[in-house]
């Protein structure tokens, strides 16, 4: 039996005001910023003071985003909680590691160690909801969230599960950010650049959490149908065009049927050219970008999925996302993301 996979609830905490029900009506300008900070929701509304005291931003943002998604979908009973994260709980990892090195292994405390494990977020959500269901965490660079989505899609379409909470989450920590700046993966502080016409290398690190309730049941609240997801580490034996055409063919779709392509362009001179190759396949589709507003995090595909859901629901494309004149009706969105020409992912969504 093959069911369909619908998105019935969404929640997002990000550098933009995605947590208050709006949809980029007002945009926070991060031009030339060296870091994208999260637009903070009222955490106290979602988390009790006793619980909040050990939580890093990844955990807090995820509790808020997941609560929003679950409230919207009106579900309590989950068959699975699946998260994806690139750097995991890097703030507590860094805290514990600094303690270890600075104090030569003396007087270390357990809290940052406990909170440093990659599955902290999924575990905390389960703990707070007393949810004994399947609980997975994917940690595979920019394909972490697509991995979580694939796992959920397989379980929902095979009818192994009815309702699944999935999420993508990342946070940053100061030393790690400095290290990746040294490496040139992140732009140096005070780099002046124009995202959409960039002449500099590296990207700008960001934070955020986006969560979704997936179900095989179509409801009034339904945002979209997840048609398919696919990802590879490297495109060794093929180029991005073949990778994409093969994916669309498997889904009986031609490029001109795709209304919008949402691109993970992150302002890195060296690697953004890969998107140009991809875009050339879609001359008649709307070309959308989002990382100039949201920054780069390894689980950015989760942010892209949230934006797509909003576009379907409102049947409108915010001007701030569009590289060309946005169309008024949207039936198919294809999200393409890669990080440094690695971790290529495609997510295909359909209006319902």
């Amino acid at each position: 039996m093959k069911g369909k996979c619908y998105i019935n609830g969404i929640g997002c905490v990000s550098p933009q005001k995605t947590h208050d029900g709006s949809f980029l009506e007002e945009v926070i300008d991060f031009r030339n910023a060296s870091v994208y900070e999260v637009s903070k929701p009222d955490y106290q509304k979602y988390i009790s003071p006793v619980s909040v005291r050990r939580m890093s931003s990844a955990v807090k943002n995820s509790i808020v985003a997941s609560s929003m998604a679950l409230d919207e979908a009106g579900v309590d009973d989950l068959d699975a909680i699946i998260t994806g994260t690139g750097f995991g709980c890097i703030q507590d990892s860094e805290k514990f590691l600094k303690g270890l090195i600075d104090h030569d292994e003396d007087f270390l405390t357990p809290t940052p160690f406990i909170q440093s494990t990659h599955n902290t977020v999924a575990g905390q959500i389960a703990l707070l909801r007393k949810c004994r269901a399947y609980n997975f965490t994917y940690v595979n660079g920019a394909n972490s969230f697509p991995s979580a989505l694939l796992d959920a899609l397989l379980q929902i379409t095979s009818m192994e599960a009815n309702t699944i909470l999935i999420g993508g989450v990342d946070e940053m920590a100061p030393h790690t950010r400095a290290l990746f700046q040294t490496l040139g993966q992140f732009k140096k502080n005070d780099t002046e650049f124009d995202y959409l016409d960039n002449k500099t290398e590296g990207c700008t690190s960001s934070e955020g959490s986006a969560f979704f309730v997936l179900s095989n049941e179509h409801m009034e609240e339904t945002y979209a149908e997840v048609v398919d997801v696919f990802f590879l580490n490297n495109l060794v034996s093929q180029d991005v065009k073949t990778f994409t055409i093969e994916f669309l063919t498997r889904n009986n779709l031609s490029p001109n049927e795709v209304d919008c392509v949402l691109l993970g362009k992150n302002g890195d001179l060296t690697f953004d050219v890969v998107y140009d190759d991809f875009s050339s396949l879609f001359p008649s589709s709307n070309q959308l970008v989002f990382k100039h507003l949201f920054g780069e995090m390894l689980t950015a595909p989760a942010i892209a999925l949230w934006l797509s859901c909003k576009i379907f629901k409102t049947q409108s494309i915010p001007k701030s996302l569009a590289l060309d004149v946005p169309r008024s009706s949207v039936n198919y969105i294809l999200i393409y993301n890669q990080y440094r020409n690695s971790d290529h992912s495609l997510m295909l969504l359909k209006n319902v």
Binding site: G88, L97, D104, N135, Y138, D151
Partner: protein, 399 residues
């Protein structure tokens, strides 16, 4: 569910650098627990570990890596075990987009990060290791080394990680997304985890003694193990036979505490129950349980209670092999999957070392000698931080 064929396996641990060495150590009761030698730590003389006595240089040589490589120890151990698994399945990777990789790790590149954390900023000598903080890069190093070009991902769910990699692999085969998939986990010892477990006060200052009344905690270990899961169709096309089958699996959450297991082992109980259901087996059909058995006071009590809830008065023969290898965290479940398959292949139960006195809370006594047995179905448990509980059921070829 349709049973998933297993067509190959590979392993490195403190009791051997391949399948055969591991098997021999198990049946000859040779454990791999010692003092920590490759890492300078204040804890060197107060704890025991299951350490692989090969330096990073020696591992590099074994893999033939060049000077400029950026493999963590975790990735090197993983690459060696994964290479063995592919070889034993007689698979080549080139151009095979239906051959994927599901890795798992908890340590990732931490062994390098902790060595050069501040140095990274002042000297460019080791900067190539910085990106290992992106855990996925460690898996990518392994898959690139092996030339895997199908779907590839990584799971990190603490001590149950490799079991969950096996579960996802089975799902990818079951759904037809892949025909062949390399699944398992790898973790190297590092100061970060050693000190982390030390702050939880669950490290033993002696050899770990699972299910013993006077157990004092766990010994950490390092290692890696991988299985090749394969569809029946692919096996037939290649004219190969399965070495064993994965017939059931489940993952649940204890939803009780971030690091401790619930009193009655709720998550563990559910995981075993669901795995049995998936395998369409009754508890009486399980012939041996390779328990999680970390030898911490909390785990063994909780797991023991869960076993009694599932099996009642008829708890099957069981043993923890962590007294041999130490607790290898993310790799533990795939290492123990290899041990479970070895048990089925050789019709033998491996001993639970260091057991002297049964726990006062219940009447459970593990198998303490290498013991011949008729084994058709073996249950393997792995539980971890964040309440993560997984159970796998392996079945003999032809059952």
């Amino acid at each position: 569910m349709a049973k998933i064929a297993i067509s190959g396996m590979g392993i490195v641990s403190s009791i051997g650098m391949n399948v055969e060495e591991n098997f021999n150590s198990l049946v000859q009761k040779r454990h791999g627990i010692s003092r920590l030698e490759h890492i300078e730590s204040k804890l060197n003389n107060s704890i025991f570990v299951g350490e692989i006595k090969l330096s990073n240089k020696e591992l590099e040589a074994q893999l033939g890596l060049d000077q400029a490589h950026n493999f963590s120890r975790t990735a090197m151990l993983g690459a060696i075990a994964a290479q063995q698994a592919l070889k034993s399945a007689e698979l080549t990777t080139e151009g095979d987009q239906l051959l994927g990789f599901v890795n798992s790790t908890s340590v990732g590149g931490m062994d390098m990060t902790e060595r050069f954390f501040y140095e990274f900023l002042i000297s460019d000598e080791y900067q190539r290791f910085i990106e290992l903080q992106n855990t996925g890069v460690n898996s990518k190093n392994i898959s690139d080394f092996l030339g895997i070009c199908g779907i590839s991902t990584t799971i990190s769910t603490a001590c149950s990680s490799a079991a969950n990699a096996i579960i996802l692999g089975a799902r990818l085969i079951d759904s037809g997304r892949l025909e062949r998939v390399l699944v398992g986990g790898t973790d190297a010892l590092c100061k970060f985890t050693i000190n982390g477990f030390n702050t939880l006060m669950i490290l033993s200052d002696d050899l770990n003694a699972p299910f013993d009344n006077n157990r004092k905690g766990l010994n950490l270990g390092e290692g890696a193990a991988y299985l090749v899961l394969e569809s029946e169709k692919s096996l037939q096309n290649r004219g190969k036979q399965a070495i064993a089958y994965l017939s059931g699996y489940a993952n649940t959450n204890d939803a009780f505490h971030q690091t401790a297991s619930s009193e009655a082992g709720d998550g563990a109980y559910l995981a075993m129950q669901k795995a049995l259901k998936k395998a369409e087996l009754t508890p009486t059909q399980i012939d041996y349980v390779n328990v999680h058995g970390t030898a911490t006071p909390n785990n063994d009590l909780s797991e023991g209670r869960a076993l009694i809830r599932i099996f009642g008065d008829c708890v099957p023969d069981f043993s923890s092999t962590k007294a041999f290898t130490g607790h290898t965290l993310a790799a533990a479940a795939s290492i123990e999957a290899v041990f479970s398959i070895l048990a089925l292949q050789n019709q033998v139960i491996f001993p639970n070392l260091n057991f002297r006195e049964k726990m006062i809370e219940f009447d459970l006594v593990p198998v303490t000698a290498t013991q011949d047995a008729k084994l058709y179905h073996v249950l393997s448990n792995s539980f971890g931080f964040g309440g993560n509980c997984s159970s796998l059921i392996f079945s003999k070829h032809g059952e």
